[in-house]
């Protein structure tokens, strides 16, 4: 135990570390945006009466939930890019991989939210003569969104944790910086610990926010 700690390396590099953390947030938010839109489309397909649409959505959801993020990320960045003869920027591949997989989970969250809306709401809307599109847009989805908010929040936390691995394909995020800086100064403990602290603090803060949201919503329902 005669390791020479050099924590000043961290304080001198705070700026690039926070920039890296910001990239991790960016990947998460962009991927989540894809997941929120694609997930809703998949959920509506899955619940539609068309056997084709429903089947396609089901296959997507099953495969997406079965696929490890790391495997999918490498498949897109190295495999798919080669087959399609395109070059992805690391950031594009990272957001795409995380977004496409998270969409499968979001689809299931949307679906359970829609199914949790009281059947009477559908019937009442139909009795009022609303079109199917209007039933979903004006009656069912607004209620479903409220129901799924905590689950979607948890999914966001999961996506954030997943986003930490995009450094493996060279996205210049916090973990990437930690690796580069560790090699440069040969101080892996300081850099990985600091990166870990920043990332874990973020996850715990997000989880706390979700928990507060959940509690408030539960309070709102009974009140």
């Amino acid at each position: 135990m005669n390791y020479d700690f050099q924590w000043y390396r961290i304080t001198r590099n705070l700026e690039p570390m926070f920039e890296g953390l910001l990239v991790t947030y960016e990947v998460t938010v962009l991927a989540m945006a894809i997941a929120l839109i694609l997930g809703l489309i998949l959920a509506l397909m899955r619940l539609s009466n068309s056997r084709w649409l429903s089947g396609i959505a089901q296959v997507y959801i099953e495969l997406g939930r079965a696929m490890p993020l790391y495997v999918f990320l490498l498949w897109i960045y190295f495999g798919l890019a080669f087959a399609l003869n395109i070059v992805f920027q690391p950031m594009e591949a990272g957001v795409l991989a995380l977004g496409l997989l998270t969409a499968a989970y979001m689809a299931e969250i949307y679906r359970s939210g829609i199914l949790a809306v009281d059947r009477g709401q559908f019937e009442a809307a139909r009795a009022l003569g609303l079109t199917p599109a209007s039933i979903y847009r004006d009656v069912v989805l607004p209620q479903a969104f409220r129901i799924i908010l905590p689950s979607a929040g948890n999914q966001f936390v999961g996506a954030f944790k997943g986003a930490t691995i995009v450094a493996v394909i060279g996205v210049a995020d916090l973990m990437y910086f930690a690796r580069e800086a560790s090699l440069e100064f040969f101080k892996p403990f300081e850099f990985y610990t600091s990166a870990g602290v920043l990332l874990i603090a973020s996850t715990i803060a997000f989880s706390g926010l979700v928990a507060v949201m959940e509690r408030r919503m539960r309070g709102g329902e009974t009140g």
Partner: protein, 226 residues
């Protein structure tokens, strides 16, 4: 495009199979350690004394908030250099996975114990059983049917997560895939194969094994509780 050459996969089947074996092996060993370690954590978590309960609570919150990639690099590159500890890639990978998943496992145990009706504790006490007896003879037999299906789902998550242990040099399926794809310069064929292998394993576990476990234990559970 020069067309796909999937036959190249079959020439490398031995290496791919070996990599798959290592990937599954790492996951299984990690899960076994997590199951044991999680039990210790949950016993602390449910203890009477706050100085046992609070550290266990912090442990669970902390590791549930930790991403595997971050933890595994910290352990393998960071901790080893400070402590002088010589962890091989295998030991580091299994330790990281086992520690992270022991926190989830502790929550699985806890929710299983909580699922047993409160009246069961009281009834046990009313007929004069000791706390130990209540747990051993009344609570745990009823909690196990709840715990096993959740533990299976956790194992599936662990297996998926463990696909990245190649980053610290474990020669698992993904690591083998990377090497083969670089060697033959056939990334699409090899990465697709790896993805298909993972999909098959995970879907088999979630669609066949987990479903069977759940069906079997749900029936069992109903018989036991009602």
């Amino acid at each position: 495009m020069g067309g796909f050459r999937f036959e190249i996969i079959f020439e490398s089947w031995r290496l791919l199979l070996q990599g798959t074996g290592i990937a599954v092996g790492v996951a299984v060993v990690s899960m076994i350690v997590a199951v044991v370690l999680g039990l210790v954590v949950v016993i602390f978590r449910l203890a009477k004394f706050w100085w046992l309960r609070w550290p266990a609570y912090a442990y669970i919150q902390f590791f549930r908030g930790t991403a595997l990639y971050v933890f595994i690099l910290w352990l393998f590159f960071g901790l080893t250099i400070v402590t002088g500890l010589q962890l091989g890639p295998f030991v580091a990978a299994i330790s990281a996975l086992a520690i992270l998943y022991s926190a989830y496992m502790a929550e699985v145990y806890r929710s299983g114990l909580k699922a047993v009706a409160k009246g069961q504790y009281e009834a046990g006490r009313a007929i004069g059983l000791s706390t130990f007896q209540i747990y051993r003879d009344v609570i745990i037999p009823q909690a196990i049917p709840v715990i096993i299906p959740s533990a299976m789902n956790l194992f599936i998550d662990l297996l998926k997560d463990s696909s990245l242990v190649g980053v610290i040099g474990v020669a698992d399926l993904m690591r083998v895939t990377q090497r083969l794809s670089n060697f033959h310069f056939r990334p699409f064929e090899f990465y697709t194969t790896a993805a298909v292998i993972y999909a098959i394993i995970v879907l088999f576990l979630s669609r066949v094994v987990a479903v069977r476990l759940e069906r079997r234990f749900r029936r069992h559970q109903q018989r036991a509780v009602y």
